[in-house]
């Protein structure tokens, strides 16, 4: 119930944080919202010798829109995006996802970037950022780089971040047309990680066809996954009953769930199918007022 003893550092700039990460290397851990790291330290599953608390770094706070992207700073908490109604028009998936994460007090602390770097396969942001085709901006001693989300998750609790790289922001492309999104999640209990989750993000072109479509799968594999086949079947199509039927049937094909206490793999696959159909139907109704037929 009590973390191991550690050395505590509280840098106030990104450079200082990166310097400390380089200095302490593997012995250190970055502390952001602490809502995954501290629970693990309390159970002594994690026992870093040094904690680098980045909460005092002003540059990591807040979000801004520029160059066709929304840049979400590493210290933006889940709750901030949940309540940012000014983002709802262009980035509806953000608040729709945020409200499903853990519970309100945890959302007041936990950060979007922390959730991504933690790389829990059940991370709700993981599925959502896949759907949004986001990029993670990281900074190390060598400077800055952008990692596309599809290259970011490597394995359960493992990312392509280098040991001394700090995630400083996540970038979400600004949509170029009418947009709608749904986040679908089934939990065993409110606040629990997902049994299965699906993020669906749709941008229409001027003819009402899907210009950009992203479908992210949560809790159904070693990492958050992309429903590639389903996306291929969706992009360029109008959202009709036929499209919905095809796409929802294809979504589980890219999932890789396991049998566990939350349910069987077959069950989770079927949840994804049901979620996809429901999400697309709701999105069609939102964007077109109804679901059409071909």
């Amino acid at each position: 119930m009590f973390p191991n003893a550690f050395k505590y550092e509280a840098p106030t700039s990104v450079d200082e944080a990166v310097r400390l990460m380089t200095e302490y290397g593997y012995d250190s851990k970055v502390l952001a919202g602490g809502q995954s790291l501290l629970p693990m330290m309390k159970l002594r599953i994690a026992a870093p010798a040094v904690l680098i608390d980045v909460n005092g770094i002003q540059d990591l706070k807040g979000w801004r829109e520029a160059d066709g992207k929304l840049r979400i700073g590493a210290l933006v908490r889940h709750a901030e995006l949940e309540h940012a109604s000014e983002l709802d028009d262009k980035y509806p998936l953000l608040s729709r996802t945020a409200r499903w994460i853990a519970d309100p007090p945890i959302r007041n602390r936990g950060t979007v970037c922390g959730s991504l770097v933690h790389a829990d396969p059940g991370s709700d942001w993981g599925a959502a950022m896949i759907a949004l085709r986001a990029e993670v901006e990281v900074q190390g001693t060598e400077g800055n780089r952008l990692i596309p989300i599809d290259e970011f998750f490597v394995d359960t609790f493992a990312t392509s971040l280098n040991e001394n790289e700090l995630a400083v922001a996540v970038h979400v492309p600004t949509p170029g047309g009418p947009v709608a999104a749904r986040y679908m999640k089934l939990e065993r209990r409110a606040g629990d990680f997902a049994i299965a989750a699906l993020a669906v993000h749709i941008v229409l072109d001027s003819e009402g066809r899907v210009a950009e479509g992203g479908i992210g799968i949560g809790a159904c594999g070693p990492i958050p996954l992309r429903a590639t086949k389903a996306e291929e079947a969706l992009i360029g199509q109008p959202i009709t009953e036929e499209t919905i039927a095809t796409v929802s049937r294809l979504v589980p094909e890219d999932a890789d769930p396991a049998d566990d206490l939350r349910g069987s793999a077959a069950y989770k696959r079927d949840l994804l199918r049901v979620f996809a159909a429901r999400a697309l139907r709701e999105i069609a109704e939102e964007l077109h007022g109804r679901v059409g037929n071909e």
Binding site: A5, R44, R188, R189, G191, I195, L261, A266, Y267, L271
Partner: protein, 783 residues
């Protein structure tokens, strides 16, 4: 504020709670809030294996760690003859393991250090060399002839603990032979845990100068804890002072004596300073005692018209590594034989076999009166199966078979004498309030459209208030309870009781009982419980026994005081005792209007102006041995809708009509019902402590042992009928547990009802969405 605490005649009124002002200010005083000078902290090292021989324990690194004052192992305790302690069920339990461990998370060693964190640091440094042994995690496997013997300490070389039966085997067999209809069902009541929000813990404080041990402990039964501690430790009982301060919920979890209490006490005795042990939530769920884990098979013999004839039940009870049930001594399966429920069976025969497995020990009475929940769930479940087979409406089947009002006192085929009830009235009220007929119509329409809606009924009978002392004892101590009331000269009262509340509101309800009897307001009466040095001896609060036992004691004790008060009043009114009339708030002189004295006047006189020859003072103690148990009952109805796509069950409505006899405080009764229903809901839909084949506990914390939040919990509707208990001094029956006992069957019956067109007759709890989805998939139903 509508708290009404100063009103006279408070009985039956929704008086605001007297315990709340401190609790809403954060000024409650729970065990972990006890901070004493020089206090040290205890951390327990637990076994990662479910069954293993301990080859060697190396404590040297821990002993050398910063802040460490003491390290103890089972061997150290064995030297003091303290390695084992008795369980309340008459078995022995290891305080810390010697020789081998029998369940995962079993206590193996302990560290005492200056801070909690240091204790934990050092605990990690203890090295234990284990030799894993074959694990028996399944109770049926435990009974196999070639199963490894788990309890080598026992004379009997078998994993079988006890066989217990009730009822009449021959008569039951005979009825089954003739019966035209027989239904049979295997029903599992999962392993669950009370998980009160405050975990268990203690501060043990040995004062060598005063030769006194003070134990602050999370206890539902402080007197029993003191007696057990005296028996285990050899310390004289009067030199042990057990204080159970504010308790953050118990639900049966805080009845037993846990290893941590004993080890903290040994440590305090050795070190001469206070030692605190607070278990973590993981320790709470994985090692402190669980509940249920009953594997039951029930058969009903009936006529074609639905009249029930006989009931036959066979049960395998998984007790884990030690039989640590908190049942009364003569009842190894508790009051499970109440399983004939609210129905007039001609005969019944019930058997239970207790079994050891490599799992945490138990089982406690989780918000229920010793296995009554298992019994109520079973009978209410199989009655529905019978209705389904006979194509009868489940309400109609129940109405047909109820014990009728005029049959009370009713002698049940397993030997109980039910005190009172009007089951038909209670069910009919429930059916009317929920709009049963309209719901059935709606269901028919929905079914025609392929939608899945279900209605579930449970009309349970409980048996609570243990108990008559000739039948019930715990470790030999008869199950009476007690009250002591003292009037002070200004007319204010302090009353102490032998029970210990954990949120039930005794400080208010017992004040109401006493105030009602003595013409006072609840404000005039201060209730104290939980301190063994001041309170009269009692057996504690669990099994809904406080109102039936201590509540009775409080009323009778107050009446004892009133008798003396009447004599003093006669003296003050200058009339003969026979001419004194008590009207509920004052004594007056018969035929002399205007001449009256209040209890306050009498109390003052008791210290200042007693009649010649009378002993001064105004106080009394009453040890109440109830003549019988009480039998609360109710009719619960659940309405559910099933999401075909995900298998999720939504509880659309839930109505609980309870009959708990006379009500002391309707607001508190309603609160108890809300809470119990929520726990029943959790059991029906979320809770289970599964173990894998290696005996690993798979839900040892609140991440996986699911406790419903405000979002998950349905909205509750409540109502009641009042059939007073004829033998209880104030006609009350106890209610704290009815909703937890009665509701699981209503939920499950509703889900099965929704799926009954598919031929589904039973689903074992907890009804996770995937279970429903599996059934739907088998029948080709999908969204």
């Amino acid at each position: 504020m509508a708290l009404r605490q100063t009103e006279l005649r408070p009985m039956g009124k929704p008086i605001g709670r007297k315990e709340d002002p401190r609790l809403i200010r954060g000024k409650g005083h729970y065990v972990d809030d006890v901070m004493l000078p020089n206090m040290l902290y205890l951390c327990i090292v637990r076994s990662p294996y479910a069954h293993a021989r301990i080859r060697r324990i190396d404590t040297s690194a821990a002993l050398a760690a910063p802040g460490v004052k003491l390290v103890l192992t089972g061997e150290d305790l064995a030297e003091m003859n303290l390695a084992w302690m008795p369980t309340l069920a008459g078995d022995q339990q290891m305080v810390m393991a010697t020789g081998k461990v029998l369940f995962q998370y079993q206590e193996v060693a302990a560290v005492v250090a200056e801070t909690r964190a240091q204790a934990e640091d050092a605990a990690q440094l203890i090295e234990v060399d284990y030799e894993p042994l074959p694990v028996v995690a399944d109770p049926f496997q435990a009974l196999a002839p070639d199963a490894p013997i788990l309890r080598e300490d026992k004379e009997k070389k078998s994993n079988h603990i006890f066989h217990w039966e009730a009822g009449d085997r021959e008569e039951t067999e005979a009825l089954f032979r003739e019966a035209p209809v027989v239904v049979k069902q295997n029903v599992r009541f999962p392993r669950v845990h009370p998980a009160p929000l405050e975990p268990c813990g203690c501060v043990s404080d040995w004062d060598a100068a005063r030769n006194k041990l003070t134990l602050y402990v999370t206890s539902q039964a402080p007197h029993v804890h003191r007696t057990v501690l005296a028996m285990v430790s050899g310390l004289p009982e009067h030199q042990i002072h057990v204080i159970s301060p504010d308790v953050g919920g118990g639900f049966g979890n805080k009845v037993p004596v846990y290893s941590g209490y004993v080890v903290a006490t040994v440590a305090s005795l050795k070190l001469g300073v206070p030692v605190k042990w607070i278990e973590t939530r993981t320790e709470n769920i994985a090692s402190s005692h669980f509940a249920r884990d009953y594997h039951m098979t029930a058969e009903i013999a009936a006529r074609e018209d639905g009249t029930v004839l006989a009931l036959r039940v066979k049960t395998v009870a998984d007790h884990g590594a030690f039989d640590a049930a908190a049942d009364p001594s003569k009842f190894p399966a508790g009051l499970f034989s109440i399983v004939t429920g609210s129905y007039d069976f001609k005969a019944a025969f019930v058997e239970v076999d207790g079994v050891y497995t490599n799992k945490a020990p138990g089982g406690v009475a989780y918000r229920c009166s010793f296995r009554v929940t298992e019994a109520a769930y079973l009978i209410e479940r199989v009655m529905d199966i019978l209705a389904q087979r006979l194509k009868m409406d489940p309400a109609e089947l129940r109405l047909k078979n109820f014990i009728r009002k005029e049959q009370f006192p009713y002698h049940s085929p397993t030997g109980w004498v039910y005190d009172s009830g009007d089951y038909e009235k209670t069910l009919k009220l429930a059916l009317e309030r929920i709009g049963y007929e309209e719901l059935r119509k709606e269901q028919a329409e929905k079914r025609a459209r392929g939608e899945l809606m279900g209605i579930g009924i449970s009309t349970f009978t409980e048996v609570v208030g243990a108990g008559p002392a000739h039948q019930f004892d715990i470790v030999g101590i008869k199950m009476f309870d007690s009250a002591q009331i003292r009037f002070h000269p200004t007319g204010k009262v302090i009353a102490r009781l032998g029970v210990r509340h954990q949120g039930q509101g005794h400080e208010t309800t017992f004040a109401q009982i006493i105030a009602e009897e003595l013409g006072l307001s609840a404000d005039d009466v201060l209730i104290e419980e939980g301190d063994t040095d001041t309170a009269p001896y009692g057996l504690g609060t669990y099994a809904s026994r406080s109102t039936p036992t201590a509540g009775g004691a409080a009323a009778l004790c107050a009446r004892r005081i009133r008798e003396k008060a009447r004599k003093i009043a006669a003296h003050l009114l200058e009339v003969g005792e026979d001419d004194v009339v008590w009207d509920g708030v004052a004594f007056s002189a018969k035929g002399l209007p205007g001449r009256a004295v209040s209890m306050k006047d009498v109390a003052f006189a008791a210290y200042t102006n007693v009649p010649e020859g009378m002993e001064p003072g105004l106080e009394a103690t009453y040890y109440y041995n109830p003549p019988n148990l009480t039998f609360p009952n109710g009719a619960y109805i659940a309405v559910v809708d099933i999401d075909k796509g995900t298998g999720t069950v939504k509880v659309r409505r839930f109505l609980a009509v309870d009959d708990c006899g006379n009500v002391i405080n309707p607001m508190i009764v309603e609160g108890q019902v809300h809470g119990g229903l929520t726990e029943g809901f959790a059991i029906a839909f979320m809770q289970d402590i599964p173990y894998d084949a290696d005996g690993n506990c798979l839900a040892p914390n609140l991440m996986d042992y699911l406790v419903p939040t405000s979002v998950d919990t349905p909205r509750w509707e409540t109502d009641r009928t009042v059939t007073p208990s004829p033998h209880h001094p104030i006609g009350a029956k106890g209610v704290g547990e009815s909703p937890n006992v009665g509701s699981p069957a209503a939920f499950v019956n509703a889900v099965v009802d929704a799926l009954s067109p598919l031929g589904v007759e039973h689903i074992d709890m907890p009804i996770f969405p995937w279970k429903v989805w599996n059934i739907l998939r088998e029948h080709g139903i999908t969204e």
